[in-house]
């Protein structure tokens, strides 16, 4: 089977999964179907020659599903979404999406065709990687040697987002916290 056909099928599956995510009314089903989209994405990464990212995508997907389900989904608010505007009922949205897609279709023709990347920067990494770094996984040698400064910055971005989340969560009063802990112990 041709790889290209397989990629198209997987991408179609992802589009259907994300449409289900957007339109379904039960929130638990929406979260689970976005998980299905993420797993299809990891299979696509595997076929596109990126096993590193496939592993990372699977694990991160599991963790984000746990975060979303554990912290936002309760029995009460699971089906809170009321029947509102449908995609097809809103004409302005449809026209807007159509215009964007038409422009995208024309502008993608100016890109390089699929399968022929411009390796202007990374040809150097591929040529010199084994000689200068000695790692046989070239992705790791790009992350942690050629572009380690980028990685340091991105670790700082992760730190900033996590500490922002802490700052949002830490605002609760102390006596309230004790109260909840007491309830917790009684259970």
């Amino acid at each position: 089977m041709n790889t290209l056909v397989l990629l198209h099928i997987l991408l179609g599956f992802m589009i259907i999964g994300s449409l289900v995510t957007v339109e379904i009314r039960n929130m638990l089903s929406a979260v689970i179907s976005v998980g299905a989209v993420g797993f299809a994405l990891s299979i696509m990464f595997l076929f596109l020659g990126a096993p590193d990212i496939a592993i990372t995508q699977v694990i991160v997907e599991i963790l984000s599903l746990i975060l979303l389900i554990r912290s936002t989904i309760n029995v009460d608010n699971m089906a809170i979404e009321k029947r509102g505007e449908h995609v097809l009922s809103n004409r302005a949205t449809l026209i807007f999406i159509g215009i964007i897609l038409a422009f995208a279709w024309f502008s993608f023709h100016s890109l390089r065709p699929f399968g022929y990347p411009s390796m202007r920067v990374s040809q150097f990494y591929l040529n010199q990687g084994l000689k200068e770094v000695g790692a046989t996984n070239f992705v790791t040698s790009v992350i942690l040697d050629f572009r380690a400064y980028d990685t340091l910055g991105e670790a700082m971005v992760l730190f900033t987002s996590i500490s922002g989340a802490f700052a949002i969560l830490r605002r609760w009063k102390r006596e309230q916290h004790k109260d909840f802990l007491r309830i917790d112990r009684e259970h």
Partner: protein, 157 residues
């Protein structure tokens, strides 16, 4: 031990967690340590180790786990990981004249002690990513409980 049995999920989940937790941590360590030879590295290994802790938290309830690794310990280890990465960069600056210079020997390819500082950087990133995600999960788990409690209280009134 009595409160251990009460909190958390059922007995089956706890038994499976007991069996699987070692495998998960060993596989995460393998992914980290062989990140420069095979697919993997600090980022997926760190998330996998965070997932191992999260599995224990979900199975046994968070009071049991917080006694072993509290949120503050997780934050401190997280900062230690970031500082280690920075410190390796500073050593490179002192030795080789460039920030994050690869000051260790390259070694033979396909060998675990090859590629110089990459293995140290991988371990630092593992500590950073894993412990920060575990800490944020602990904070969110406490707050998820708060939301549920409020709803229950509303129902009682």
């Amino acid at each position: 031990m009595k409160e251990n049995r009460k909190s958390g999920m059922t007995f089956i989940v706890k038994m499976i967690t007991n069996i699987m937790i070692g495998f998960m941590i060993v596989f995460g360590g393998y992914i980290v340590l062989f990140g420069h030879i095979t697919p993997g590295g600090g980022f997926p290994g760190g998330v996998m180790i965070a997932l191992a802790y999260i599995l224990v938290t979900l199975a046994y309830g968070r009071n049991i786990v917080e006694r072993k690794v509290s949120g503050i310990t997780a934050s401190v280890v997280d900062d230690l990981g970031a500082l280690t990465f920075w410190f390796i960069g500073i050593i490179g600056l002192c030795v080789g004249g460039e920030f994050l210079y690869n000051f260790l020997g390259k070694g033979k390819p396909f060998h675990i002690f090859s590629a110089g500082t990459i293995i140290l950087n991988n371990i630092a990133i593992t500590l950073k990513v894993g412990m920060s995600l575990y800490a944020i999960f602990l904070a969110l788990a406490i707050l998820g409980r708060v939301v549920t409690d409020k709803n229950e209280r509303k129902d009682e009134q």
